[in-house]
């Protein structure tokens, strides 16, 4: 998290740390699901030998942590074993320029007991896309890098939703491995090249949340997905509202 603050205990109780192919984030849904980015499960740009891992194999090696804002204390609480992994079928780990479908679900083997430090985030109402209006203030949280240093505490930063047009313009001329990055309708951008508040490596998979002014509930509108550099431009987020059917199809009654 760039330009953020330490998250007080219990302020982002849905925040998960996932260690699959490196440190990443996630958000608790219900009492046994973790919403995260697909690329934290199957990173892009892997060599051929690493791509052959199955979901079952990844699930077995995945480590999930919940319940604290201090990393060392988080680890002490213990890993939450994973039962299954679900990666969106649109996600293509081989296409480094296109993060479309960058969404995944992790099912924990055992339900977690909710409390002040472990609480799920809400999903958006499918009929209400107001949270994606530019200027809507969202909050990103994560254990990711700041100033090239991996955080030892959970941080957060207020990051407003940005104009899609402006983000598209900003992307003009920028390359990812000499190719134009793809900004799809299943994504949205937030932040600003000037504000200095952004997400960064290690924050992927974490939720960008907004507080519903009516219900006062925190809603996960986006998943930290990709960007070019950290803190000097826009960040790009998976648009959760577009994947509600897929999520509900997997999570079911939960």
């Amino acid at each position: 998290i760039i330009g953020g603050k330490d998250a007080p205990p219990g302020s982002f109780p849905w925040q998960a740390m996932t260690i699959i192919s490196g440190r990443a984030g996630g958000a608790l849904l219900g009492d046994r699901w973790i919403l995260t980015a697909a690329h934290t499960v199957f990173p892009k740009g892997q060599s051929e030998s690493e791509e052959t891992q199955t979901l079952e194999q990844v699930a077995e090696k995945a480590e999930i942590f919940l319940g604290h804002t201090v990393v060392t204390e988080l680890f002490k609480l213990g890993n939450r074993p994973v039962r299954r992994l679900f990666v969106h079928p649109d996600y293509n780990p081989n296409d480094e320029h296109n993060f479309d479908g960058d969404i995944a679900l992790i099912e924990l083997r055992d339900p977690v007991t909710l409390g002040p430090d472990v609480l799920p985030v809400c999903l958006p109402d499918p009929g209400n896309s107001s949270f994606y209006v530019p200027g809507w203030m969202g909050y990103a949280s994560g254990f990711g890098v700041e100033k090239n240093i991996l955080a030892n505490k959970l941080k957060y930063a207020p990051i407003p939703v940005a104009s899609q047009v402006m983000c598209q313009d900003w992307l003009q001329g920028k390359k990812i491995n000499r190719r134009d990055p793809v900004f799809t309708a299943n994504m949205f951008c937030a932040g600003s090249p000037n504000e200095g508040k952004d997400t960064c490596q290690g924050d992927s998979g974490g939720a960008l949340t907004v507080r519903d002014p009516v219900t006062q509930r925190w809603v996960a509108t986006g998943i930290v997905s990709w960007g070019i550099g950290c803190g000097k431009g826009y960040g790009f987020y998976t648009k959760v509202i577009n994947y509600l059917d897929w999520v509900k199809g997997i999570v079911g009654k939960d």
Binding site: G10, S11, L114, P116, L119, C122, D212, T215, Q216, W218
Partner: protein, 438 residues
Amino acid sequence: SMPTSKKLYGEVKSPNYPKPYPDNNITTWDISVPKGFRVKLNFWQFDLEPSEACQYDYVKITADKQDLGRYCGQADSITGNHPRGKEFLSTGNHMQLLFHSDFSNEENGVVVFYKGFLAYYQAIDLDECVKGNDIEDGPRCQHFCHNYVGGYFCSCQPGYRLQSDLHTCRVDCSNELFTEPSGYLSSPGYPQSYPAELQCNYSIRVEKGMTITLKFLEPFEIDDHPQVRCPYDQLKIQAGQKTIGEFCGTVPPRNIETNSSSVDILFLTDESGLSRGWKIWYSTERIRCPQPVPNDDSTIIKAPQPIYRYQDYFIVTCKTGYNLMEADEKLASFTSVCQDDGTWHRPMPRCEIVNCDTPRILKNGDFDYVSQKKNNNYQSVVRYRCNEPYYHLVTNTGSDTYTCSPQGSWKDQNGEEEIPACLPVCGLPDSPILEIQR
């Protein structure tokens, strides 16, 4: 003298018959027939010298020491006494004939030859039972006489037994058995005085499960003493193994309900007395069982009867919310039958309140007792709740309250057994971030 053997019939004829009989002859015949018979004699031929008063030749007949007549003459003779077709009947089984001829048979100097007589006799049955027919040996029957050809036998009135002399009757009440559902029994000769030295034993035996009731009729008279109870004659009554009592006097005892299917009545009399005795009407009915009484307020006896008798039964159920129990076993139903000994084949069961056990644990929640009684018995009420604010209660039918049902399970207001669930509450952290600096 010519005795005849005891045949049933025979012939008697004068000497030389049919040739003229000799003079100066006296011949006797002693006719005997078997005992039980009488002698009947007829003359088929009779031709003797007639004389005045049969003083010359004659036949004299006697039987049973009685003279049955002196006969002589011919059928058409003016003098004499011709028997003609007369039948001579003895009372006993003997008859004697005597033939007498004098020294000559002359009439006006002419010798007349007379043929003599030919008689037949037969044995006819003696009806020993007719009064007047003397029986040589032994008394007449004391009660009933039954004649048959050649003999007779005696019998006795009911309640009497023929003695070894085959003539006298003595009261026989030593082993009287009554098996009908009802009937009368009485002292011998009732209401006449009962005989002395009696040892009468009357037994009433009816089907098991029936009880005998004794009702004493009037008159009731058994020899008694004002100071000493029943010293002379006694009427003892026993029902099964139980002794009912010993009775005498002139006041009939009250009706006795024996509660037994077996009653013995012993009547003992001494050597004297003129009391008229007793008479009992006995009846039977099915034995009674004790009135069933519920053990508790929750027990219901279906369609209770005022009286229960042998082969009756009763059915027990419990009020709603109670289980029918027999020892530690829960019963689906209960029936008890009144047995032939007046006891119930099963004792009254009890009703225990239904217990639903502890309500199911609600994960991430708990329950509280709402009802006054905080046990798990029938009609106890609990309300589920969740560990708020992290979980919220989601019910199946809108009810979070469960009542212990009569079926022994916890059910909500809609009769559903499934308990609610505690689901996570999303997006409401205890300590959301609070931006102060603007």
